[in-house]
């Protein structure tokens, strides 16, 4: 039985608007203009225990709204949502005991307190038994390398340090499901890798279900076997990463490093995508010409010092998909 069931979920917000300038402000005093925004417009999907799902979509697509409904924070206008047999917003207190949530843009730690005191406070709030808490905390401290941070007040942590602490904080009560809302936003390369590595281990070794929303396609490529794409409040695609690629285009990329300078590169079955010095990037459709044939032809005509074939970067795939959906 799925751990999370979402059926035809709808949520509409009313946005009050006014025209710009003093005139608009004055008109707004007399009559407020409002507009209905369908943040969720009939979303359905389900998640099995232990899955690691990438939930992606352009800004304003409804990602955070979905997470907030699943977290029991928002009450939807329509549809059904059952998480581990409970309706999140109706049985909020029991529900939130079994989930962990990290919002990348906001910390759940107490700003003025040293990290370890925030952790202790969370233990009390979740009523985690002492020995279980000690075990989890030690584990998290080791996995996320938190030992040097525990006594530092949260406001003095760097963003990367804070995110590691936030991850630990969301797991102290050993939740079955973890929601990560843009956990790598603003992080440097090293911190991103640390976060990804941790999330992967958590999912593989402990079987925690992870729902990850992000704009960083490297996160998706590194972690997720399944991707749910949402746009304009509707699900545009739900499937493995390869399906996302196939759906948008079948093209592949061939990058060639030429030995000579300034040579013109041309092939009837390939399109020149970009050229930087000696490096040439070509796009081709594998159903028209195989990579082997293309490479052979090019090697005949040019002196090639190096080459490699790869997929279209996932960023481009997603950008095209968003464009197709007209967002």
């Amino acid at each position: 039985m799925p751990q999370i069931i979402v059926e035809n979920l709808c949520k509409t917000f009313t946005v009050h608007e006014r025209s710009s300038g003093m005139g608009g402000a004055l008109r707004g005093v007399i009559r407020r203009r409002s507009r209905q925004v369908h943040a969720l417009d009939g979303i359905s999907f389900s998640v099995e225990p232990g899955e690691l799902i990438g939930y992606i979509g352009p800004n304003g697509a409804g990602k955070s709204t979905t997470v907030k409904v699943l977290g029991g924070i928002l009450v939807p206008d329509g549809g059904r949502c059952v998480v581990m047999g409970r309706v999140p917003w109706k049985q909020r207190i029991e529900h939130v005991r079994s989930i962990g949530v990290v919002f990348g843009q906001r910390t759940q730690l107490w700003w003025d307190l040293p990290v370890v005191e925030s952790f202790d406070l969370l233990r009390d709030i979740y009523r985690v038994p002492r020995d279980a808490y000690a075990r989890t905390r030690a584990e998290m401290t080791e996995l996320l390398d938190l030992a040097p941070l525990l006594d530092v007040p949260v406001r003095q942590l760097s963003l990367g340090q804070r995110m590691r602490c936030d991850l630990a904080a969301s797991l102290l009560h050993s939740p079955d499901i973890l929601f990560l809302d843009e956990p790598t936003i603003g992080l440097d390369a090293v911190s991103k890798l640390a976060v990804r590595d941790f999330v992967r281990r958590l999912n593989r070794q402990r079987g925690v279900t992870v729902i990850l929303t992000t704009h960083d396609m490297d996160d998706i490529e590194a972690l997720c076997s399944r991707v749910v794409v949402i746009a304009n409040g509707q699900i545009a695609l739900d499937g493995p990463l390869e399906e996302l690629r196939r759906r948008v285009s079948s093209e592949r990329r061939l990058t060639v490093d030429l030995a000579g300078d300034g040579e013109e590169v041309f092939d009837p079955d390939a399109i020149l995508v970009r050229r930087e010095g000696n490096r040439v990037e070509l796009s081709f459709d594998p159903s028209r010409v195989s990579a082997a044939t293309l490479i052979a032809r090019l090697a005949q005509r040019h002196e090639v010092s190096d080459l490699f074939v790869q997929d279209v970067p996932i960023e481009e795939v997603v950008a095209r998909l968003y464009a197709e959906m007209g967002t």
Binding site: I73, I93, V96, R106, L113, E117, D124, I125
Partner: protein, 263 residues
Amino acid sequence: MTPYFAILRARFAAVLQYRAAAFAGFGTQLAFGLVLIYVYEAFYRSSRGPQPMALGEVVTYIWLGQALLSLLPWDTEPDVRALIRDGGVAYELLRPVDLYALWYVRTVAWRLARAALRSTPLVIVAMVFFQMRPPASLAAGLAWAAATAGAVALACAMTSLYHVSMLWTVAGEGVTTISATLVLFLSGMMIPLPLLPAWVQRITAALPFRGLVDLPFRLYIGSIPTERLAGILLEQAGWTLAFVALGRWLLNRGLRRVAVQGG
């Protein structure tokens, strides 16, 4: 430790860190107290008729008020205010605790910690240099302490109502501007209630505010006999329950429509 007590303790400890603010508060309240006392002294000297309170009682009443100003529900808790403004309510709702109780407990911790920091030095200075008197008797002191606990419960229930109202207004300034005027005047903080005309006192008796300042303070100075303590506690508890009920009802309605600021 229960979640609520843990939060109470943590918040209390955090507010105790703000020593500079407490020191500034101490200075302000000392200055205000002195100005008020000079004004009353001038009044008492220039008027010949008998007064409902002796000057010495007024002086002690004023110092108590200045010392315990932070217990009065005329402002809102900055953390809760920030949570509502920037959407941090989301995280609060992710905790397996009752949101109303969580905010109430935070408010109690915040008010008690600030009052503890400010009142101690102020009371010492006022007693040593400025004619503040100790409680009329041991019994009066104990009765005052009990009524102060009731006043804190009531004050925090009123503050919680302001917090909940901010789910609609987002900014809390409007609410606190109105509440500050009402509370400071009708509780006796600005002018001790016995000095007001009889018809105003009839109004204040029908309102919740006198339970915050006037009743406990007059137990302290001995102008209300300790036998009335039970009645006072009952009055405070009744109003507290009313404010809690209203606050909870509004919070549940507010959460249904809350958009959680910032997407």
